[in-house]
Amino acid sequence: MKLAVIEPKSVSFAAGVVAAFGAFFGLFIGTSQGSGLIGVLGGAILMGGLAFLAVTFMRDQEKTAKWGILALFVIVGALLSGIPGAVLGALLGYFFGHIIFWVASGRYRTAVPPYATPGQVLWHYAFRTIAGAILVFLITPILVVMPLSFNAENFFTFTPEMLSFDPAGYSLRHYRDFFTNSDWQQALWNSVRIAPMATLLSVGFGTLAAIGLSQPHVPFRQTIMAILISPMIVPLIISAAGMYFFYSRIGLQGTYLGVVLAHAALGIPFVIITVTATLVGFDRSLVRAAANMGANPVTTFFRIQMPLILPGVISGGLFAFITSFDEVVVVLFVGSAGQKTLPWQMFIGLREQISPTILAVATILVVVSICLLTTVELLRRRSERMRGITPS
């Protein structure tokens, strides 16, 4: 049985679709050059024309045509703006060469069921395009930061040397600055000292609170829950100002302990929410069964309940850690200059001195977070695998 209807499409169809893509790219190029409308029209006409020519004259020599288009784009790009233009041209040329023949040969239908109407096919690809665009929108700011952090200049600027891939335009000086500047090192050290302690407290208190609040006999459960979760809902600046005055009176303002407690209070709601969610799937009769076999509540908790709700505890702890590690508002109030954390230092750096050291730090933090999340995910898979082979 033939699953998909793959048949060559008419020239006008291919040219039209490719013109639409051309218009899409033209919109960006046109906007950056001053006029979006001209960009859209120019892109549509150029790419539509290219598709028309390629499909009309070279439908059977697909490989040659693709290489030809690629070469054409590279040459035009190089003529316009040197090496970076050529790289960009290569990417665009590859994309358009591919797309022209993909549309013209009807291969785009392989991924959809044969009975799909043209509207459904369009939606199938439009959906993926939109999803991809959202991903790009979310990730571009992070991706832009990374190359900029290797800037040899003291500004947030892609210099001409950088754009032409001249090694002189790149340097590690901002990384060196981060690792040798005592302000940054002190801030890093403070963050490293504060976040794990705050996480530990959040996880401890949050888990206990979640377990307590999941017992049906506890009175005013909803109210207590709402109060505990309130730091997540109340605007941070309000909590921060409140904590500032309260902690000042009891002598905690400007101390290490004060910052840890404040961050723990911010982290607890995350732990409560994730642990409560895992507790929903927890079978209470297991606890009774353990008690029935003579285990005291503490043993029951550590041997039965804890292993089962561990994923919730870990992800809650991860959120609590990130909250503390990323937090700038509360620490500005509750901490003093002696507790200057990494986000605080970045905040100052951004306001007073737009220095690419911040970008270097951001890059390092992104890499660290990726490593952290990967490790957690690998551990989770490993434990799942282990559980799978352990006879139960």
Binding site: F245, S248, R249, Q253, G254, S336, A337, E352
Partner: protein, 364 residues
């Protein structure tokens, strides 16, 4: 010769003072400043030398000068002063002094004499604009422009009204997101005489006139709020010209080698200096006084000018400023042909009113 002698004498004096009263002085000090190049000039000119003389002392920097007024209010309310010495601009110092958040002091008692023997109150002179204020430097808000974006066949901008001339100098401008300075410049370029600017600006019609002048370039203005913004915008070529503090432009031009030129016309002078928060305990106050005596003496203020192009607030420091820095000082005669002194009284009285008008004009 004289210089070395003073230096030695000053050091010896400070050292004996340090030894004599080391018992009752706190050994930690939290200094609040602006961060960036300015803070590092303070660090090199007098904080590091002071720490070398007093190795037992540790200094913590807090880069919170921007929100010093709000934070000091909160500290006062909470009864928990954690700052020992705060660097603020003159306008903030006046507010803090009026609210009783900064300590009043006697210049001749707290500050060292000039190296020529002038009393401190004469040496600083009119720059002590408030009973709480210990001025350090004179800076100015002025314009920088991209030298490579000046149109062909046109002279580089040299007049404040070039900012408002979009035909001669097309391109974006960076202006500070507040009425101060912008309103004065707008009136100057709308035909108001220099000595009448504040009289005109005091009237609602005058304020309208200034905003109407700003309206002519509004579409081409990028508004900045941090001192680092304009240097970044200039380095990016995002703007043709922009206002910022002259020290920032100095660093862009001399240290970062960007194609930027200075336009000193109608620069506005302002002051930066210390205040001591009210309510410090004895030990911290003693330490701060000891530090201030050292950090504001003639040689130290002149030293600071080696690291940043701001003019020392002491008259006696001026001759000690290195020759190659003098040309970058806002007070250098070549740069100071047409200047403005920030009018503290006017802005204290009219700030809220004009701020509101300016903000609603911005939102239109």
């Amino acid at each position: 010769m004289k210089l070395t002698k003073t230096l030695l004498a000053g050091t010896a004096l400070a050292m004996t003072a340090g030894v004599a009263s080391a018992q009752d002085m706190a050994n930690d000090m939290t200094i609040v400043s602006w961060g960036g190049a300015y803070q590092s000039s303070q660090l090199k000119a007098y904080v590091e030398p002071y720490l070398e003389m007093h190795p037992e002392v540790s200094v913590t920097w807090d880069e919170s000068s921007n929100e010093a007024v709000a934070k000091l209010r909160a500290m006062n309310e909470a009864g928990n002063i954690t700052w020992d010495l705060v660097d603020v601009v003159a306008a903030d110092a006046i507010r803090l002094c009026d609210e009783g958040l900064a300590m009043e002091y006697d210049p001749d008692e707290l500050l060292a004499e000039g190296d020529d023997g002038t009393s401190a109150s004469d040496d600083f002179g009119d720059l002590i604009v408030s009973d709480c204020y210990i001025p350090q430097i004179v800076y100015s808000t002025t314009f920088g422009y991209r030298t490579d974006m000046v149109p062909e066949g046109v002279d580089a901008p040299s007049n404040i009204c070039d900012v408002f001339d979009l035909e001669k100098y097309p391109g974006k401008r960076a202006l500070e997101k507040r009425p101060i300075n912008n309103m004065e410049w707008a009136l100057l370029c709308d035909g108001v005489a220099k000595d009448e600017v504040y009289d005109v600006l005091a009237t609602p019609e005058g304020q309208e006139q200034a905003l109407a002048k700003l309206d002519t370039i509004k579409d081409d203005v990028i508004w900045w709020s941090a001192g680092a913004d304009t240097p970044q915008l200039l380095a990016d070529g995002e703007v043709f010209m922009g206002s910022t503090y002259n020290g920032r432009l100095y660093s862009v031009i001399e240290e970062q080698d960007q194609p930027v030129g200075m336009m000193w016309d109608a620069q506005v002078y302002d002051l930066d200096g210390w205040i001591i928060p009210e309510g410090l305990d004895e030990a911290h106050l003693a330490r701060v006084k000891d530090f201030i005596m050292f950090a504001t003496d003639t040689q130290r203020l002149a030293d600071q000018a080696k690291y940043i192009s701001y003019g020392p607030a002491r008259a006696s420091s001026a001759p000690l400023v290195p020759e190659e820095m003098k040309q970058h000082m806002p007070t250098d005669p070549a740069n100071a042909e047409n200047t403005f002194l920030y009018n503290y009284e006017f802005w204290a009285d009219y700030r809220d009113d004009i701020d509101a008008k300016f903000q609603s004009w911005l939102a239109q």
